[in-house]
């Protein structure tokens, strides 16, 4: 099998960038939401929970189309953002990152929520009697103890984001160098005569990235579990 061409590199690097940005931007929101869902009771909690999980059960094309309706150049939010803040998502790599972030969000939130629920609240009480205000209890006790779940959520979200196809291609199309990720490149290559070899190379790259991500998540989880048990 011959070498990876520069066009393929472009798709690979774009995929990595899109998935990384999507994960990094989504994580703080994911932690905040996971904390709300794990620890607070409020009106509309089950509706919020359902909304977060919606991208998991909706056809990706539907999510992508909804993003296009809302955030496309003529979309009600998109038009406002473009006019007032100069931010455009449609047919840009940032739009791909947004689509991937939305699609991977439920997978990111779930492990974080479970790990926050697993943090012993008696330790948080102990911290408060030692003089820690609620936000410092969160920063010094809850967050470090929930770290395994946060890392697991980030890896899972990243893996989902790098493989995302339906919502991305619907929202930002398949423009080489701008929005053509590994998945959409493979899709194009399969439909091209003589594209099989190139498609196979990208398939192998996908497998390598996914495997590395899984090994990394296992490693983080094991280290963090050791911390959790105080050894």
């Amino acid at each position: 099998m011959s070498e990876i061409t520069s066009a393929e590199w472009t798709a690979i690097l774009l995929s990595l960038r899109v998935a990384m940005i999507a994960t990094l931007v989504a994580t703080p929101f994911g932690i905040a939401l996971a904390f709300l869902l794990a620890r607070r009771d409020f009106w509309g909690k089950s509706i919020l929970d359902a909304m977060v999980h919606l991208p998991l059960v909706l056809p990706p094309v539907v999510t992508g189309y909804l993003l296009l309706l809302a955030l496309g150049r003529r979309g009600f939010v998109g038009a406002w953002l473009a006019e007032n803040l100069g931010i455009v998502f449609a047919f840009r790599w940032t739009g791909a990152a947004l689509a991937c972030g939305v699609m991977s969000f439920p997978l990111l939130v779930r492990p974080i929520r479970l790990s926050i629920e697993a943090v012993d609240r008696r330790l948080e009480q102990a911290a408060s009697t030692l003089g820690a205000a609620p936000w410092r209890v969160f920063a010094t006790v809850t967050l470090p103890l929930a770290l395994p779940g946060i890392l697991a959520g980030m890896v899972l979200g990243f893996a989902k984001a790098i493989g995302e196809f339906g919502a991305t291609i619907t929202f930002v199309a398949n423009i080489p160098g701008e929005t053509q990720t590994i998945s959409s490149a493979i899709y194009s290559l399969i439909q091209t005569p003589d594209g099989d070899a190139a498609a196979m190379r990208l398939v192998l790259v996908s497998i390598v990235i996914a495997t590395v991500a899984l090994i990394a998540s296992e490693w983080f989880a094991r280290r963090a579990t050791q911390r959790l048990h105080g050894n």
């Binding site: 012993d120 008696r122 330790l123 009480q125 102990a126 911290a127 408060s128 009697t129 030692l130 003089g131 820690a132 205000a133 609620p134 410092r136 209890v137 010094t140 006790v141 470090p144 103890l145 911390r227 959790l228 048990h229 105080g230 050894n231």
Partner: protein, 222 residues
């Protein structure tokens, strides 16, 4: 001085306690289920009374009539739990230093040495809580609470999770603490023997009511 005058519905029974204690060690004595832990959780601010007042050295901590509730982190009341509750992701030194950091207190090496010497935990500083024995864990928890420089120290059956041999090992530290640390304490136990050795005043609780209040002579079997 600690002044408590509260009412709190706890499941089937009503906890009603009123006392004012000047003692160095106020013992809360009673069988399990008498309301002892709920009472000191209220003193710590972890639980809110339905009605009543809690005051320490003239400062009102809870006053339901006037909607006053000082949150636990502003009370400067140390708490040693039955199950130690050391932070598993920090070593012993970091656990000991936690209260000082959270209260924004200056580093006080002399005080830290006094406390670690008093409790014989100087050799454990690098260890993780998972590598400590039950008795060592409880001593570190005591040190951690003391080093946050509390105005009052609450101890909820700190010997409760230890076997007899370990209890004998820890009790002398508690006596030294009472005589040297200069922090008033509230000591919860269902063990009359422990009470007799430690308490200077005793509040006897039974099913949520104060049955007796006085010196250690109110303890049964004495």
């Amino acid at each position: 001085m600690l002044r408590v005058d509260i009412k709190k519905q706890l499941g089937e029974f009503m906890l009603e306690a009123a006392f004012a204690s000047e003692g160095r060690v106020t013992g809360l004595f009673g069988a399990s289920g008498a309301g002892k832990t709920s009472l000191i959780n209220m003193i710590a601010g972890l639980l809110r009374p339905d009605r009543g007042v809690i005051a320490l050295d003239g400062e009102i901590l809870d006053d339901t009539a006037n909607g006053v509730h000082v949150p636990p982190h502003r009370r400067r009341i140390g708490y040693v739990f039955q199950d130690a509750r050391l932070f598993p992701h920090m070593n012993v030194a970091q656990n000991l230093d936690y209260g000082r950091r959270m209260n924004g207190l200056a580093d006080d090496a002399a005080q830290q040495k006094r406390v670690t010497d008093l409790l014989d935990i100087g050799h454990l500083l690098d260890r993780r809580p998972g590598k400590l024995s039950g008795g060592e864990r409880q001593r570190v928890a005591l040190g951690r609470a003391l080093l946050s420089k509390p105005r009052l120290l609450l101890l909820d059956e700190p010997l409760g999770s230890l076997d007899e041999g370990r209890k004998v090992e820890i009790l002398p530290y508690l006596v030294r603490l009472r005589d040297e640390a200069n922090v008033p304490m509230v000591y919860v136990s269902h063990d009359a023997g422990e009470m007799r050795q430690l308490a200077t005043q005793v509040v006897m609780l039974k099913r949520g009511r104060v049955m007796a209040f006085g010196g250690i002579e109110v303890l049964p079997g004495g």
